[in-house]
């Protein structure tokens, strides 16, 4: 049965993070269309906040996080300064990656956030390597690696999960199953659509798929998985979730999936948490409203910070090619 609920302050912090991510993504989309955020790639986390926030809340600071290109929400939930995330998307020198990474390549070493990676599946063996460091040195650390459902079909997934099983590495592999990889539906891409069953192939520990819209369930499951990984070895998890904004800015297909979308939006992870908080603490409404306003202000501030930050210089162009 469900474990005891975390204390109020913790729940409010989750709420704050989830709202902040949503507001940040909404603003990012606007700024992209205004061409203030450049490039062609912008993959938003709207709808998946319950997974990112619930999962990261199960980690300690010394644990590690790595993900794919849908990385803004993960960075925010890990505590990376939104100003520096927005500045990165503006391509400014104050960005987390100095304006050289962009939206898909956010990272913050000081947060043990090893980055977003834009080659599908490419970060999975990196997660194994980071976990190998922990095991090799006897460090009490776990790596949490987010994986798209689409990424489970490329060779990296198989090779990295198998290696982690053979070497008993402390990794929690977390599939965020949002039912699509770009425009291709899960059932058109995967022979076995119950992705959690992939664990069987590696004789790997797995837990039942989580309701990714339910931050409580995600948190509880990831906590168990992190404990297991810390003591024994790799774990596979699957979070059932949905992309409210489609794949990225070029997605012309997602809006047509009206029924499916409304089904998931009826279970918006932020609304679910909001309702739960109101049920638990009937007087909490004004507090939540205040958090909403604060998040709006943080996003506005991040936009200003990015606007006013300097562009990288010619020296930055050739810096950090080699150590």
């Amino acid at each position: 049965m469900a474990a005891a609920l975390p204390e109020k302050a913790t729940l409010l912090e989750w709420y704050r993070q989830m709202v902040l991510i949503r507001r940040f993504e909404e603003r990012s989309k606007e700024l992209f269309h205004q061409k203030k955020i450049g490039g062609v790639y912008l993959h938003l986390y709207n709808g998946q906040e319950g997974t990112g926030v619930g999962a990261l809340a199960a980690l300690r600071p010394q644990d590690h996080v790595i993900t794919a290109y849908r990385d803004h929400g993960i960075a925010i939930a890990r505590g990376v300064d939104p100003n520096r995330i927005m500045a990165e998307m503006y391509g400014k020198s104050t960005g987390v990656s100095g304006g050289k990474g962009g939206s898909m390549h956010l990272a913050s070493r000081e947060h043990n956030f090893w980055g977003g990676y834009a080659i599908v599946g490419g970060h999975l063996p990196l997660a194994a390597g980071i976990a190998l460091k922990a095991k090799y040195n006897g460090d009490d650390e776990v790596v949490l690696c987010f994986i798209g459902d689409g990424a489970t079909n490329n060779g990296y997934f198989h090779e990295a999960l198998n290696l982690s099983a053979v070497w008993d590495l402390p990794v929690v592999w977390l599939i965020e199953n949002n039912l699509y990889g770009m425009g291709t539906a899960l059932e058109d891409a995967s022979g076995q659509t119950k992705l959690i069953k992939r664990a069987i192939a590696y004789d790997m520990k797995a837990f039942d798929p989580m309701d990714g819209q339910d931050v409580f369930e995600v948190h509880e499951t990831v906590k168990k998985a992190v404990d297991y990984a810390r003591k024994k070895g790799p774990v596979l998890l699957e979070s059932m979730t949905y992309r409210f904004e489609g794949h990225g800015m070029s997605d012309k297909m997602y809006a047509a999936r009206v029924d499916e979308m409304s089904r998931f939006k009826a279970r918006d992870p932020i609304t679910l948490l909001h309702d739960k908080l109101c049920e638990l603490y009937p007087d909490i409404g004004p507090t939540l409203d205040t958090i909403d306003k604060q998040c709006e202000a943080v996003v506005t501030e991040s936009e200003k910070y990015a606007e006013n930050s300097p562009a990288p210089t010619f020296e930055d162009l050739t810096r950090h090619i080699y150590v």
Partner: protein, 326 residues
């Protein structure tokens, strides 16, 4: 102990062993590096000496070997990953190029990637088309990577040790044909050869021969032959394809005004093409003849021994090319 005549595989083994003894963070991983002693016996006895924590057999998973080495290096270890032959490094290409070579830059210096990927390379022995590649220059195309290709046992030791101690990712290519060939190898555990420094192998004033890895042997043989006719070749071993050191080449070319590049690799988009481009760009006024390339023929390598020999470069082809530019 004294410096001894040592085959290249043994020199590499010494280098690896010394570095593992020196630095606890250095470890080897790859297929058959443990109980098998390494496909090319470079890790002979390592499992016994260092144990399974530091001598890590992997599944046949080149993508994961490459990627896990990147992750481990970013996290603070110093992996030396072995890919059996460079032919299989194509499967690890993405991890090397998109991650090893990029993470330092793309994340603005937050991460380093001090890894070495050792690969055995080369043509010959009727290994056939899929198993006879020398694609080092493809890896050298990318800023962020270093590419080493030693021509002899002594250099192999000093270069591998330098590669392991460096904080950048290195693709370290070992010519299979050179593994058994001996040279006098220093047993000084701090014998290092600087990264990105070419080597003058032989002085001469008539023509500059530029080579790397196995090509150096053909260049030196050709120089011997030509010396008997009074033609003095200057032979330069590049040692590293990235950083590519053209200083000695340029200096030599100013004297000889002629150049032949020798490589055990296909001609298109190769090192020879790069050297020729850089010479004409920098030393146009010194050019007295077209720059020639001696390469493998532009074919997939066939199985039949006669055909294979026809396709490969050799010392005679170098001699012929020199005669053309004199």
């Amino acid at each position: 102990m004294a410096d001894k005549n040592t085959p290249m595989r043994e020199a590499l083994r010494m280098a690896l062993m010394e570095e593992m003894e020196r630095d606890e963070r250095v470890f080897v991983m790859g297929q058959e590096v443990g109980a098998w002693d390494g496909t090319h016996k470079v890790t002979r006895g390592f499992l016994e000496k260092f144990g399974a924590r530091r001598v890590r057999d992997t599944p046949i998973s080149e993508m994961a070997i490459g990627g896990a080495a990147v992750g481990a290096a970013m996290a603070g270890l110093r992996p030396v990953a072995e890919i059996m032959t460079i032919n299989f490094a194509f499967l690890a290409f993405d991890a090397l190029i998109n991650h090893a070579a990029k993470v330092h830059y793309m994340f603005n210096g937050q991460f380093k990637c001090p890894m070495v990927m050792r690969v055995a390379s080369g043509w010959g022995n009727q290994a056939t088309a899929t198993h006879s590649h020398t694609p080092e220059m493809i890896f050298a195309h990318f800023p962020g990577m270093y590419v080493a290709a030693p021509s002899n046992a002594r250099d192999a030791k000093g270069m591998l040790k330098a590669a392991i101690r460096d904080d950048n990712p290195v693709l370290f290519s070992e010519s299979i044909a050179l593994y058994p060939k001996p040279a006098v190898v220093p047993d000084d555990p701090d014998f290092l050869l600087p990264i990105g420094k070419s080597d003058l192998k032989r002085e001469g004033q008539h023509v500059t021969l530029v080579a790397w890895a196995r090509g150096v042997e053909w260049a030196l043989q050709a120089a011997d032959t030509l010396a008997k006719e009074g033609v003095q070749c200057e032979v330069i071993d590049l040692r590293w394809l990235r950083p590519l050191d053209t200083a000695l080449v340029f200096e030599s070319f100013k004297k000889t005004n002629r150049c032949v590049v020798i490589e055990e690799a296909l001609p298109h988009f190769g090192v020879g093409a790069e050297i020729a481009a850089q010479i004409q760009d920098n030393l146009f006024d010194y050019m007295d003849a077209p720059i020639k390339r001696v390469n493998a023929m532009d074919v997939p390598l066939p199985y039949a021994a006669e055909l294979e020999m026809l396709a490969l470069p050799n010392a005679q082809k170098v001699v012929d090319a020199v005669r053309e530019v004199l």
